[in-house]
Every structure is written in structure tokens, then in C-alpha cells.
């Protein structure tokens, strides 16, 4: 099962209700709970994707524009969404383009770009079979840009990319009625983590104040 089918609103209000039941006077609002929720859900989701070989969370972008860097002349595309920073850039599952129109095959079965890095790419030019070319293209990532190697002589306008995108807790377009894109089996863990964090955040100033008042913590300032 890909995701929980539960909406953000459903889970967030469930968490808020639980917190309020335990800490009636706590000043916690729904926006805060949603923020915590998405932060923790993102971390759990990253762990899940890293461990499970599944296409459940693979986001496919069929037509990403290829641009040309005006300074260097290099071809690049801008990541259409934020992705998980996995080892070896495996947050990018594939990048492909269709060198010839063949309606029998989907685009991603044609030429795929192989991942490299700037220093590693030097070795590729030492052997004809590995040399970047339209038949054997490569990509490397620099921040949110993906540069393409081997297709400089082609006028590629669009590529298809498959990405493991991350949740964005500060996305202004996010709606409470959106589905929480997290495996259902991880929701109890999410709830536990947020309640622990919520309890810590709520309790911490109170206990801290009590300990200060009781003289257990001696705060020295520059005035003393």
C-alpha cells in the first residue's frame, strides 16, 4: 500500500486532540502540529524509501525542460521538486530522453542518463565505450541543477525524470485535505514521535522554571 489515505487534517487534529487532552493549557495550534508532522513524516518516509525497493513513492515528471547555461553553454535542467539527498544521488531514479520516436516503447526504455560527478567524469573520457555521447549520456548534480553530459550536440528540449521527492512542510500550496503521503504502518510511529516531541516542548519550560525557582539550576549572567 503506497500511502495511508488519511488526510493531513485527520492526522493533525488527532495529534492536537491528544496533546490538548494531556496539556489543556498548552498554547499549540494546528499549524504547529502540521509543521511537526510533516517534518517527522518526511524523515520516516526517507527511511522507508531508502530501505524498500518500491516504486510507490516514485514521482515521474514527463516533460522537464532542458535549459542551456548562458555562461558555460552546458545543458541542464532544474529539479522540478525537492528530492531526498540519498547516497550517489539515488534520489534521482532515472532521467531519460527519446532519441527517436518509437511509439512501441515508453520513453524510459530508450536512452537513460547514467549518474556521474564532475571529478569522476574525467575517467569516462578515457575509453570510447564509456565516453559521454548521445547513446551513452550522463548527468551530474550541482545543488538543484542537473547537468547533462554527452548530448551537447543535440537540441534536447525535454527529458523525463523519475524522482523520490520529499515532503515540503512550508509549501504554501499544501492543503490540510491533501493525503498524507506516508505508509500507513508508519503513522503510529509518527504519532509517537510527535507526542514525545510535543511533550518535551510543552514540559521543558515548565520544569526548567521549577528547577530555576528551586535553585537547582544556577544561572549566572554578566551582571553578577
Amino acid at each position: 500500500m503506497a500511502s495511508s489515505n488519511a488526510t493531513i487534517r485527520y492526522v493533525a487534529f488527532d495529534l492536537l486532540t491528544t496533546l490538548k487532552q494531556n496539556y489543556q493549557n498548552a498554547d499549540i495550534n494546528i499549524a504547529q502540529v502540521v509543521f511537526w508532522m510533516l517534518l517527522h513524516a518526511d524523515r520516516l518516509r526517507k527511511g522507508h524509501i531508502g530501505e524498500v525497493d518500491s516504486g510507490a513513492y516514485l514521482a515521474s515528471f514527463n516533460a522537464v525542460a532542458v535549459l542551456v547555461d548562458t555562461t558555460t553553454g552546458r545543458n541542464y535542467l532544474v529539479l522540478p521538486a525537492s528530492i531526498y539527498d540519498f547516497d550517489d544521488d539515488t534520489g534521482i531514479e532515472y532521467i531519460t530522453y527519446q532519441p527517436e520516436i518509437d511509439r512501441d516503447n515508453p520513453t524510459f526504455t530508450s536512452v537513460q542518463f547514467t549518474r556521474t560527478t564532475i571529478p569522476e567524469s574525467r575517467r569516462l573520457y578515457m575509453r570510447d565505450d564509456e565516453k559521454p555521447s548521445p547513446d551513452n549520456p550522463y548527468f551530474y548534480r550541482v545543488t538543484d541543477r542537473i547537468y547533462l553530459l554527452g548530448v551537447e550536440q543535440l537540441n534536447i528540449l525535454l527529458v523525463e525524470v523519475g524522482l523520490y521527492t520529499s515532503l515540503n512542510p512550508i509549501d504554501s500550496a499544501l492543503s490540510l485535505d491533501d493525503e498524507l503521503d506516508l505508509p500507513q504502518e508508519l503513522i503510529p510511529q509518527l504519532k509517537q514521535e510527535i507526542l514525545s516531541m510535543g511533550a518535551f516542548v510543552i514540559n521543558m519550560p515548565n520544569e526548567f522554571q521549577i528547577e530555576v525557582n528551586q535553585g537547582k539550576i544556577n544561572i549566572k549572567t554578566n551582571q553578577q
Binding site: 550517489d88 539515488t90 537513460q112 547514467t114 549518474r115 575509453r127 551513452n136
Partner: protein, 249 residues
Amino acid sequence: MKFSHEDLLSISEVIADVLLEVDDKKQQKLTPGYYRAQVKYALDELSFDTFFVEVTKDYEMPHDLKLPIPKGVFNMQNMWGYTGTPDDVGYLENIYWKRNFDTRGYNTGYAARVHEGNITDPYVKAPSGYIFHYFFNVRNGIIYLSDTCDSMDYVRIQFAGLASSELDIDKVKMVPPFVRKAVVLWVTEKAAKALKATNPEYRIIQIDAANQLDEYGYNGAWHEAKTRLRGLDKKMLRDFMEYSSKLTY
């Protein structure tokens, strides 16, 4: 064994097996080009040992009687000079290798330890009536032909060919079916060897593949592949035995 080039397998068929063996189905651990290069490497090694790729080339007789050995071939097997054209061979002569033959080209004479003009040498003397008509030597990748070859219109040379250069023009289908097992093991061994630098667990895969391949022994896929490639066809073997027994060749 002779085989049809229609039966050659594509490089992808070998790589598809290897990717499973080394658990690199996404080709993220090694590049696709690396795997392709290893397939060619294996076939070239087999061609060095078995000469299973046969190449015949015809050249118009060069004016300076110097002929560079073309790219992608090695181990010259036969050389003839002939009149006419490649499609209509006329008078033909074998051109023999003459050891130590050294010339600068047409009409510049030559030097050799056995030279027809050398009649006073007390140690290395050309026998009486000793004449080389058509001969050649090779120095630094260039075939030097004797002046007498100038009377011929063409030279036909048979070589062994490098598999990666000669087998398939678009370099896609080039694996003879009866060496597939050896090539898969070869590429697996090489890939696992490269991967063990970052993950020592690949050593097990490498050793398994190397054992089954047994490149320098007689109990593995490599020896089997060489035996198959070198083997005579049944028809040829039978005819050869017949010729030998009757001595009428």
C-alpha cells in the same frame, strides 16, 4: 567451428545476465559503457588465442610497394599477388616472407642476410640459382614488398581479425553463441573485481566467476570456448583426413 554471423548475439544479451550476477540491474554501480567494454575485451582475448575472426583484404599494388597493416587485424595468414581484379583474379603467385629483408621501397634495392647478389660470403651464401621472386617483410606495421611484386595488380592478404573491430559494423551483435557462457563469466569476474574495491562482499562473486571461467586452466568455460572456436567442422576434418590418407592434395 564455422558459424553464421546471423547467429551472433548482441552485447546486451550478455550484459543482461551479468547485471543480475553482480546485482547492478539499474547500472548505477558501474557504467553501461564499462560492461560493453568488458564484452569486447573478452572477445578480443578469444580472438588473440583462437583467430576465430577471419579477415581478407585486397589492395591495389602500391607504387612504393609499402602497405600499412590495416586497423583491426593481426597475425597474417596468407599473402598472394595477382593480376586482374579482386572480382576476376588472373595470374597468381604466393608472396613469401623473407627474413631480414630490408628495403626502403620500390626500386631502392634491398639488404638481407641471404641475398642473391652475395656470392662471396663464406658463411651465409645464397645457393646457386637461388632466386626469391615474390617476397615481403614487415617492419613497424608496414609490409614491404619486393620489387618483383610490382608486376602484380593486387595483393590479397588474409589476417586474423580483432573481434571488437571486425565482427559487427555497428558493434551491437558480436558474441558467437557458443562462447556466451565464457563471456558472461569473464564480464562478471571483471565487474565484481571492480566493485570489490568499494564493497569487499563482491570478492565472493569474483572468485566464483573466476573459478568457473578458469582462464589459464583446462577445466572451465574459457578453455571450452577456445576449444569450440578452434575446432574444425566435421566436414573439414573428414576431408582433411581423406586428403592426408591419399596424399593427393
